[in-house]
């Protein structure tokens, strides 16, 4: 057994936490792009694309993220592609994030009064112009706080990527525990690091929310 000082533990965890951050950003940005595309599809498309997006959201919100990760991991292999935990985790988390973000944003768009659409229609704007110049600028304002808040869920979600072998903060914690037999200290440190990562974002989301309500 190697002698690990507390600093060794923290240092190794910090190094691994980089990958938590990277994976979170990939999922958040990728999920945002896919989510935006789904939003436009849902608003613009006909009955069928509406049902498709609703089903997509239901599927990702109604099943465990862990199972989604497993399915991505083993599903990619089915296509004869060499899987890596990296790719599977990025894919699964991106899809997962897109489902939640598209639903959050749809709610924001739905909260814009119908009169705004009607006024834009009456001024002869076409659908994309209505969306881009009238609805989205207003919806974006109310969408920012919950979107920032969801980033916390994404960061926490990346912890599950450890189960398919992606070495991020949680997986590093498990590995260090196996080497040091100090699970209490190690997992406490891991939890603390997630907290340090997430809490400021949660607090930021809350203050954005408050400001939004104050301006009304």
């Amino acid at each position: 057994m190697v002698d690990f000082t507390l600093w060794d533990i923290v240092r190794n965890l910090l190094l691994a936490a980089r990958w938590t951050v990277v994976l979170s950003l990939i999922a958040f940005v990728g999920g945002g792009l896919v989510g935006a595309a789904l939003l436009v599809l849902r608003l613009w498309g006909g009955r069928r694309s509406h049902a498709f997006v609703a089903g997509y959201v239901q599927l990702f919100q109604g099943t465990p993220l862990l199972m989604q990760l497993f399915l991505a991991y083993f599903g990619i292999a089915l296509f004869g592609i060499q899987t890596s935990p990296w790719f599977a985790a990025a894919l699964a988390l991106t899809l997962y994030t897109s489902a939640f973000l598209t639903e959050i944003w749809r709610g924001c768009v739905a909260s814009i009064p119908r009169g705004q659409w009607e006024a834009a229609v009456s001024l002869a704007l076409d659908f994309l112009e209505q969306l881009r110049y009238v609805i989205l600028p207003q919806a974006t304002r109310i969408a920012v706080p919950p979107t920032v808040g969801f980033l916390v869920q994404v960061i926490k979600g990346t912890a599950l990527a450890s189960v398919i072998g992606f070495v991020e903060l949680t997986k590093a914690g498990t590995m260090i525990t196996n080497a040091t037999f100090r699970p209490f200290t190690v997992y406490a440190c891991v939890a603390l690091m997630y907290f340090v990562l997430c809490f400021p974002i949660s607090a930021w989301a809350r203050s954005l929310e408050r400001k939004l309500h104050a301006r009304r």
Binding site: G115, Q116, E118, V121, S122, L125
Partner: protein
């Protein structure tokens, strides 16, 4: 040739038939006041004219062109000819007053910056709000917001303006300033179809008054005739209810 020509227009919401065969011709420069009980289909009729609602039967032409719901380009052309003012103003809260007025000309008519701003200032002056160009909608009173909405609609240079109870959401002391603007438009020869509860205004400004009842045009006549000698018991009852 009439600007708006409506023939046998029928509209259902599910099994509820709201418009039961409307025939109406509106000549250029006419001011049509539409009155009637709540639920008689006044709003629905106006909303059919600019395609906010689809209709089930009949035909509707604006400038001689039939309204085709599935033809995007035709609808866009139609809406440039038909402006609409709403009871709840519906100004865009994220744009300044000037921004509200300039948005549609810029996007739809591809009008550039200086020309668009110049036109917006002229229109705002016309509704008495020249100094509010840079103000935000939530800094204005209801009456001012409604006048901006009128200017915004005028910026598209419509041939017809539809007004749906545009003073109903206003405090009584603000009604006058909006009605004066509308009266000015009428004097300048704008074709207007307005749903209104302001009978005195209808009497003074309208060239014809339409009384809607149960989804039909129940009576239609110049204001003196319609208010002075109502022919049907329904209209008489409606008018006497107003006085009490």
């Amino acid at each position: 040739m009439p600007v708006v020509e409506i023939r046998g227009l029928r509209k259902r919401f599910g099994s509820n038939e709201v418009l039961k065969g409307i025939d109406l011709d509106v000549e250029p420069g006419e001011v049509i006041a539409i009155i009637g009980k709540s639920g008689s289909g006044k709003s629905t009729l106006l909303r059919c004219i600019n395609g906010l609602e689809t209709f089930d039967e009949g035909s509707l032409t604006v400038d001689g062109k039939p309204l085709l719901h599935d033809d995007r380009a035709a609808m866009r052309a139609l809406r440039q000819r038909v402006g609409m003012i709403f009871q709840s103003f519906n100004l865009f809260p994220h744009l300044t007053v000037g921004g509200n007025v300039m948005l549609a000309p810029e996007l739809v008519k591809k009008r550039g910056q200086p020309a668009g701003a110049q036109q917006a200032r002229l229109l705002l002056a016309r509704v008495g709000l020249a100094e509010k160009f840079d103000a935000w909608p939530d800094q204005l009173s209801g009456g001012q917001q409604q006048r901006v909405a009128i200017a915004r609609s005028l910026a598209m240079e419509p041939a017809v303006m539809l007004c749906d109870e545009i003073t109903s959401a206003l405090d009584p002391e603000l009604v006058g300033e909006v009605l004066r603007v509308v009266e000015g438009l009428a004097k300048d020869g704008m074709t207007l179809l307005m749903v209104t509860h302001e009978m005195n205004f209808a009497r003074k400004v309208a060239s014809r008054v339409v009384f809607m009842h149960a989804g039909k045009i129940h009576e239609m006549a110049p204001p003196d005739e319609l208010f002075g000698a109502p022919k049907t018991p329904e209209l008489r009852q409606f008018l006497s209810a107003l006085h009490n």
